[in-house]
Each structure stands twice: as structure tokens, then as C-alpha cells.
Symmetry: C2
Subunit: 425 residues, 2 copies
Amino acid sequence: MKKMDYQNVKGTQDYLGEAAVVRRTIRRTLEDVFIQYGCKPLETPILNYTELMASKYGGGAEILEEMYTLTDRGERELALRYDLTIPFAKVVAMNPTVRMPYKRYEIGKVFRDGPVKEGRFREFTQCDVDIAGVDSQLAEAELMSMALDAFDRLDMNVVIQYNNRKLLVGMLEAFGVEEERTNQVVLVLDKFEKVGMKAVLTELGGLGLSPGILEKIEAFLTDEANTSFRFLETFVEKSELVRQGLSELEELETYLEALGIKGKCVFNPFLARGLEIYTGTIYEIFLADGSIQSSIGSGGRYDNAIAGLMKTDQKFPTVGLSFGLDVIYAAMSKSTEKQETSGLDYYIIPLGTPKEALLVASEYRKRGLNVELELGNRKLGKALDKANKEGIRNAVIVGEEEVRKNQVKIKEMESGEERVESFDF
Amino acid sequence: MKKMDYQNVKGTQDYLGEAAVVRRTIRRTLEDVFIQYGCKPLETPILNYTELMASKYGGGAEILEEMYTLTDRGERELALRYDLTIPFAKVVAMNPTVRMPYKRYEIGKVFRDGPVKEGRFREFTQCDVDIAGVDSQLAEAELMSMALDAFDRLDMNVVIQYNNRKLLVGMLEAFGVEEERTNQVVLVLDKFEKVGMKAVLTELGGLGLSPGILEKIEAFLTDEANTSFRFLETFVEKSELVRQGLSELEELETYLEALGIKGKCVFNPFLARGLEIYTGTIYEIFLADGSIQSSIGSGGRYDNAIAGLMKTDQKFPTVGLSFGLDVIYAAMSKSTEKQETSGLDYYIIPLGTPKEALLVASEYRKRGLNVELELGNRKLGKALDKANKEGIRNAVIVGEEEVRKNQVKIKEMESGEERVESFDF
């Protein structure tokens, strides 16, 4: 009979074997670090009212087009969440008694019916930390320090690029760009590192910017001192926004210096980040060796979104940081050896002794060890093969002879050494 | 300005505060136990082809009605998964090289657009372990032992009720129930403990069973020795199925005895479990004190479903066990005190010393401690209030005076004792 061909839906996939183990390590490491930093867990639903997800403080037109929508049996118009930020804002809105500052993390699936490419899926996992209720750049410093700790634990060498959107927007204002065009221009500037000067200027020209403005933008993009404030400082006089941005940047840098992490953080005045919601500091995390081009984490300050969603005048200054589990996994699986590592301490092999083997497994587990029991009736040779392939540390042979003597035979797989241990059957 | 009213979609909810902490504990404890038992992690997509989810080896008509369906931009007919079993079977079908026995776990969200009541949601989390490729009752014994370990770690006193579907089906056969009615009758019998004899007999009568058959069923249900095999054994002669079922039951009980867990496991000949896919052992886990009526975990053997899905003659005997995170959470939150327990070791309070406080937080975290930094500029009194409310163990006061002396002041919150520690700023 022919086997039925099953397929996964485009943009989704299964993770099994070593892939699932690596992903678990990432997830748990991130969660451990979040806990260490005093972040509180939050779980929000995947199913949301379309109206909420389509709010103007949400992901913007491009993301809304990619939203999966459905109708339930009660004729509700629903959408699958496309990020964890709107659900977070909703929780703040629905729980007025929540203690501020509110620092929460959530790890969960999000959905976007968009283009699929390497490391970019339609169903993927985000790991987000957001801090609501903090004006000071301390919040940004905490998150950047947390990101460095997390990647350090994952043995990944990273660099954080940061900028401040007030600088960009203020500068464009001072250049004479009309306010309603600012975001379009920022989106184009965001591509500078990827596509280069010529492409950026062409696209900006297409937006109808005047030659005079284009000239100024070119001068900005060619400024060599892109790690200093020299160029930006010439705008302080002209723009209150630039002045504010610079002052925030300086505050942040004082903290990065105090933490001794300034060397891992690079000011990038061209960094723009697409989303309109950002109002201040923005940052993206990259692999130091550049082996993966896209960022493996990113975020920034969005001071207006929660209040906007809540339609309140109350202030909810907020900073967020989002880790992409899938891209971190892609980065790690490039550097990790393909060797299976089950993490198992013992593999109990019954040879006609199922009851006794169960007992040995149970006893070893009580000692806190990770133990697999052979359930498939493998013969000794095949069982030892499996132990080798899966990188299990010890095989425990429970033969009838051993049971009679109240013993088990333990084979240390790497050295091949065997020893006998007494066991009270 | 009036705040906008946000609502969660019916049957979904947010978990924050202590609720989210308890749920994290359950999730991580279960995962730790799964790892200890040598289960391999698996992640499958929530989005699936409707055709796959609607397979006849799936959840049956009732669940299919409750399936959330949608169409993506590529006009694919999709459904949200309603369990983790079909996705597991799909993975086995798609990965013919997977090593058998394959013992995997998955923790993830599933969706059912059905009735909502206490502890029953439309979007909920399942924690499943399944073992494919094992004929022997060793697999059942492993899973039952694992369940007891897991609830032991969660400090929950439980009882596992078990039965074998071959016994039930074989008996009904011997009573003269027609084969195509068997499953309907089993569904009614499943309600016996809840609704009682009269209601069961009335409903069975409504199915058109003859008075003779009803009499036999009544005799079975009134048999007092419902923890022995006495009654069942009278059927061995008449039914090959009953004979097989009894033999499996005896094998299982030998293992439970060897493991010393027979006292926690109770044979219940009336236990039926709704789903048609089960072919052998079935079990449900209940709180020993009965404070929650519904089961907090359940599963059984389904030897035909994977092969059926794969349309193959190859055999895939499989046993599964599913823990319901939401009902376990409901059970735990009844017994747990409502006191907040942040699990935080230190709470760093800057008093005009943000840089230095950052440094202290960073230093303490390097020691592996869980540390929260006050980001909201709370005054000392309010900060100590918060430390008390959230059950943080120590407050660390970083005042300007302390910084000058290269010191921090540590207040142990429970005793109120203060001490000074040197810190190299």
C-alpha cells in the first residue's frame, strides 16, 4: 500500500531530534535569564479580536495584510496574534491595578501570512521582554545588559547596534522633510546598510524629496564619524528633537559604560527600524561574526502605544526587546556540531527482565538522573548501537544472571569500560 | 477621557501575576520529568491542513465540529490543531527514519470552539507524552510511573484509574451488542460514575438495546467486585477480546507491582474514555481528595491510528498520556496560598544612584542570583512596601552615602535586620 504523503502548511515546520533539543535550550536559557532579571511571566491568547490586532498602534499596514483572520462559531471576527506587543498592551489596559513599572516576559507563537524565506516562517516563536512605566534610560540599559547575558549563556558572540529615533526624525525635520513623509523616509534609510547609498538616494528621490534635502541626507549618510556625535551635534541648535535624542543617548551611554558593556554596543546613526511605534532608543542585536545577516533580537522604546490603545492621557512609557527563537536557532545550528546529545545519564537494557529493568530505571530516576528504559525489546548489540548513536553516557545491562546475583552491569559508553554494581532486586 | 474596554475572546484568557508563575512551575516540572524519562522534545505547528485534522483517526465528529478553520492568502484550507496526537502521528508518517520506539513529548496550545465552563477553555495547553512502537505493557507502566512522579513533584496526591478497552468491548460483544453500536454504548457507560445507574440504563434503552442486553449490563454495573477480575473472568471463555484484555491487564499489574505503585493505581472496569481511537489500556488521573471532579490527565493505547493515518500495513502500536495544564493549574491554585512569591533574592533600590545600582544588580546576577532593579524611581518607603508585597527576600539600598563608603546596605525583609556589605564601586 502506498503511504499517504503528508505535508506541512507552507511557512510552518516540525522540529524534532536535535533541532528540538537546541530550541529547548534556547527557550529555557532565555527564560532563566528573564527570571534572573526579575521579569514576570505572562501568557496571552493567540486568538484575539481582529479589531484589537488591527489597531493603529499595532504593526502597521504591512503586518495587517499578513494577519490570519477567522470567524468562530459565535460569528466573532478573530485574528491570530502577529506579535506579543499588542497583547501586552491589552493586558496593561485591562488590568489597571497592575504594579508599575511592569516588567513582563512572554514566550509564544505568533503568525504572519507573509513571504517565506530562510529563517523566516509564517508561524514562529517570539521571546519578548517589555518594561512599562519607566521614563529613564535605565530600562534600556537593563534590557541591553540582559540581552548580552542571554547570548553569553548561549555561547553566542553578539553586538548590539543602537540609535535613537528622535535623532533620525529630528534630523529629517531639520533637513526640511515634511512630517507626514518622515516614516517613509526612515523606512528607506533603514535599508542603507543592506542596499547602499545609490539605491537609497534613488528610492528617496522617488518619494519626491527635493534635491536640496537629498544632498543633506547624502552628507549625513557619508559622515565618517558614525560612532561619534560630531555630526549630530551640529543639529542640536536647530532641533529640539535632536537635542532630546542626544540627551537620551548620553544617559544610556553612561549606563552602558558603568556596566562595562559599552564595547559590545555600537552606536549606529543609520539604524532606523521599520515600525512607526518607536519613539526613542532603538536597538538590534547581530552576530559579531556576521554569519547571519539579519538581527537575532531587536526592540526599542515606544512611549505612546499603550496609552494610545487605552485611549488615555495617562503616560505609559515602555521599552521592549524581542528575541527571535527561530533566527537564534538558525544561528546556533550553524555553529553546533550535528552530533546527537541526548543528555541521558543511563540507558537501562532489559534482557528478558522487564520487571527488574523497570525497577532499576525507577531507582535511578529517584536519584535525580536522566534515564531511558529500552521498551522495544532491542537485543544487546542493537541497544548498545543506539546508546552510541544518541550519546547516552552509560548503558545498564539487566540480564537474568545479574538479577540472580542482585547486580547490574554498567558500561560507560565513551571508554567502553564495564563495571558491576550491586542492586537489591 | 474614557478608557477603551478591551475584552478577551470568549474561552480565552490572560495569565499574569501568581497565576503565570504557578503555570510556569507546572510546565517546567512536567518538562523536567519528561526529560528524566528520556522523552524527546517535539514542536509541531498549530496551523494544519483541515484535511489532516479531519482524518477519521482524529478526534471524532464532536471535536471536528469544534475545529477552528480558516483560509490563508494562498487559499489553503487550514485548521488550528485541536490536540497534539494527530500532529504526532503526522510527524511519524513524514519521518520514516525516526528511530523506534519513539518517545516524544510536546507542550503546546490547542484549540476547540466548544462549550466553555470552569477549567475548560477554547484555547488551552496540553502536555503530551506518546510512545510509538511498543507492544508491551511496559510502555503503559512507564507512563503511569511518570505521571505519579510528576504529580509527586507538584505535591499533588493523585490516583490513576485504569481499564482496558478490550474488556469493555469484548464484554459488550458477549452481551450481544452489535459491533456498530459498541462505541455509542461505551460513551454512555463512561458517564456511569457521574450520572448513576438509572440514567445510564435509560440512555442505553434509548439506543434500542434489547431488555436482555440491558439486564446483563445492569448486572455488570452492579457487580461489587469492581476491583477484582472475578466478574470479567466469567467472560473469558466467551470472548477472545476479553481474554486478551485480561492478559494485558495482568501484565500491566505485574509491572505496577514491581514498581511499588499499585496502591496508587485502581482498576475501574467502568472506565471507558470517549474516544474511539483507543484499543487497549486506558487510564485517567484524578486528585485523591476528589476536590476536582474531572481528570487532570488521561490517555491510553491506540494501536491503529498512526498506521491508519499513514495508510500502511506497518504496525505502530502507540500509548499516550496527556496532562491538561489548565486543569492542573485549577487544582493547584485551589491548594496554593494566594501570597505572592516572586522568587527574587535581591531588590536593588537606587537612591539617586542609578549607575551604581545597575552595577550592583549586574554583579549580583553574575553570582547567579535573581535580582530586580528598581527602575521606577520609587522612594525608599514605597520600595520596601513593594519588597514586602512581592515576597522579595532582601532589599539592597544603594544610597549616595553608601556609595561614597564603597558599601551597600542590605535589609533582610522577613526579619527586618539590616547589615552593611562592602562593594567596590
